[in-house]
Amino acid sequence: MNQVQQISGRGVPVIGNDIDTDRIIPARFLRCVTFEGLGKQAFADDRVQASGQHPFDLPQYQGANILVVNGNFGCGSSREHAPQALAKWGIQAIVGESFAEIFFGNCISIGVPCVTATPETVQQLQKLLQEDPQVSMTVDLEAMEVHCGDFPASVSMDEGLRQMLVTGTWDNCGQLINYVEQIKATASKLPYLHWDPATASY
């Protein structure tokens, strides 16, 4: 897996607390067997409601790769389609006040870092991005800092997960299957697998 150390480019602010995954990708777009094409549908209903004024539609934010959001972003449904849609739209990192847990885990699973910053920092970043959408922005996972033009701020993330991203070892699947013996040993200790005739042999 690639090392995720520094994401540089431009930012896009999406303002509001409790933006749920139904809003990030409405359920009707989940009628699919691949994640392809979801980028176009990111925030689909919010964009229609905003009549072209949603940041994902505004010309000045096209090509942005860092999303800046407020509190409890990604709450609700566990659909990985949400981070997939954002990633396919072009988002490579998310800075927010806080994230819902399943959404956060889904982002890490696909190598999209979610870092948290204080509400003041996030609001300042959103303001800077509104004032100058072309300002260059960087999320630096090694220094744990975000830079937006001249504005620097520190950001946070679980240290173990940060290491995984920075060292390119964020592919959980590849790691987990390395321990088949240990997995089987754990299974053998579980009483309920023994009284199920289908699994008694484990």
Partner: protein, 473 residues
């Protein structure tokens, strides 16, 4: 740090080891899959040339996209049909037990696993669906996962996870008449907020939960995620054991006695340490209705929609957004709000006891003119039993449609949708913008009994008043 709780015990038992990231590699005892979040996971397996490590520990069904009227194949919706074919093929290719439509056991994944006794105390349970927290009602550690994690479970029967903190939520006392499990959980979310549970497992304790039946407990645990908690659970007790006894996958004979003994041993210890404890009094809880766009925006049916000034600073922006979207006026009573559609069903409130309770209020009543009202049983078994009891006739006579099982208008991935800015009284779990299939559709969450009251009155009504009128002379 928590110590001696059921969460700690079950976590420790299932820990395979510590990963380089510091996360725990956790064994998943039961993996449930459905048609929406699994096809990409199987595609990833194929891409990597991986097999399913423990095919016997994954169980599949179809629920999200299933039509509740015409279920003839191929489905009218070709995208839904493609998803059906994908799960049928994947289940076949990988040797996974699959409850398809017409099997007699198909239904919402969080309804069928408990009703077959697949869900048991002390298990770790994962599913690509956030309402997997439902299974915590049995004293299991159950949580929703994304599709990459579905792949991980298929390939390794494990997940990389960070341990959660444990918050004990104690509710004591008898619930007043007309107040249900749904009201209890809506009340908790209202008080603790939609992100109050992030980083926590919720342990529901106290006499109120102890006196609930298993289906009521499932309603409570189901909505843990709406409070931000990825999992919620209730310690297993005699009610749990009585529910499980004799079910298809419950242990039998000698194994049953051993199982009960083990299940008792995994209960939180008397002197268990929780990271946090919150207490509520059941007597304070009213029939609750949401007025906004998050499940935390709930009020008692006799209250008014809160004005921004009465809310904490941090909740004002989302309240403003909600007034605008819901087209409701702050300061006015929620009771009397006109509704268009009534939906009874979902993994929150689509079980037999929900339908029985709703039917009790629907009996001899009529759905108000111009209201579309429908009932979607949670599973084929629920439907069959309800029909045996004649509940379908009660609903039909009252003017409700009686449908085939599935998730239906909880998330409207099938043809059941709100139109335009219709407003629904819904027994489901989410009132998010656009949740019920229309970008401007509006949802009021409430208990199934309250949905019946709303259907009969054509507006939000207090089920306690309907009950008074129902009393036989």
């Amino acid at each position: 740090m928590s110590k001696g709780t059921l969460f700690d015990k079950v976590w420790d038992l299932h820990a395979v080891g510590t990963l380089p990231s510091g996360q725990t590699q956790l064994f998943i005892g039961l993996h449930l899959i459905h048609e929406v979040t699994s096809p990409q996971a199987f595609a990833m397996l194929r891409e990597r040339g991986l097999k399913v490590l423990f095919p016997d520990r994954t169980v599949a069904t179809v629920d999200h996209i299933v039509p509740t009227e015409n279920q003839a194949r191929p489905f009218v919706d070709s995208l839904a049909e493609e998803m059906m074919q994908a799960i049928e093929q994947n289940a076949k290719d990988y040797g996974i037990r699959f409850y398809n439509i017409g099997s007699g056991s198909q239904g919402i994944v969080h309804v069928i696993a408990p009703e077959q006794g697949l869900t048991q105390p002390g298990m770790t349970i994962a599913c690509g669906d956030s309402h997997t927290s439902t299974h915590g009602a049995f004293g299991a550690i159950a949580f929703g996962i994304g599709t990459s994690q579905v792949r991980d479970v298929l390939a390794s029967q494990t997940l990389a996870l960070s341990k959660l903190k444990v918050r004990k939520i104690e509710v004591n006392g008898e619930l007043p008449p007309g107040v249900y499990a749904k009201d209890v959980i809506l009340h908790i979310i209202r008080k603790l907020g939609v992100k109050g549970g992030v980083g926590y497992a919720y342990e529901y304790a106290g006499t109120t939960f102890e006196s609930m039946n298993m289906e009521e407990r499932m309603t409570v645990c189901n909505m843990s995620i709406e409070g931000g908690a990825r999992c919620g659970y209730i310690n297993p007790d005699e009610v749990t054991f009585a529910y499980l006894k004799g079910r298809d996958f419950a242990p039998k004979g000698e194994a049953w006695d051993k199982a009960v003994e083990w299940w008792k041993s995994i209960r939180s210890d008397e002197d268990a340490v929780h990271d946090d404890v919150v207490t509520f009094d059941a007597a304070e809880i009213e029939p609750t209705v949401t007025w906004g766009i998050t499940p935390g925006q709930g009020i008692g049916v006799s209250e008014v929609i809160p004005t921004a000034e009465t809310l904490p600073e941090s909740e004002r922006a989302i309240a403003q957004e909600a007034y605008h979207y819901m087209k409701l006026t702050p300061g006015t009573p929620i009771k009397g709000t006109k509704i268009d559609v009534c939906f009874i069903g979902s993994c929150t409130n689509g079980r037999l006891s929900d339908l029985r309770e709703a039917a009790k209020f629907a009996r001899g009543k009529k759905v108000a003119e111009g209201i579309k009202a429908f009932v979607v049983p949670g599973s084929e078994r629920v439907k069959q039993q309800a029909e045996t009891e004649g509940l379908d006739l009660i609903f039909r006579e009252a003017g409700f449609e009686w449908r085939e099982p599935g998730c239906s208008m909880c998330l409207a991935m099938n043809p059941d949708k709100l139109q335009g800015d219709q407003i629904s009284a819904s027994s489901s779990n989410r009132n998010f913008k656009g949740r019920q299939g229309s970008a401007t559709g509006r949802t009021l969450l409430m208990s199934p009994a309250m949905v019946v009251a709303a259907a009969v009155k054509g507006e939000v009504a207090d089920v306690r008043e309907l009950a008074k009128k129902s009393v036989a002379p």
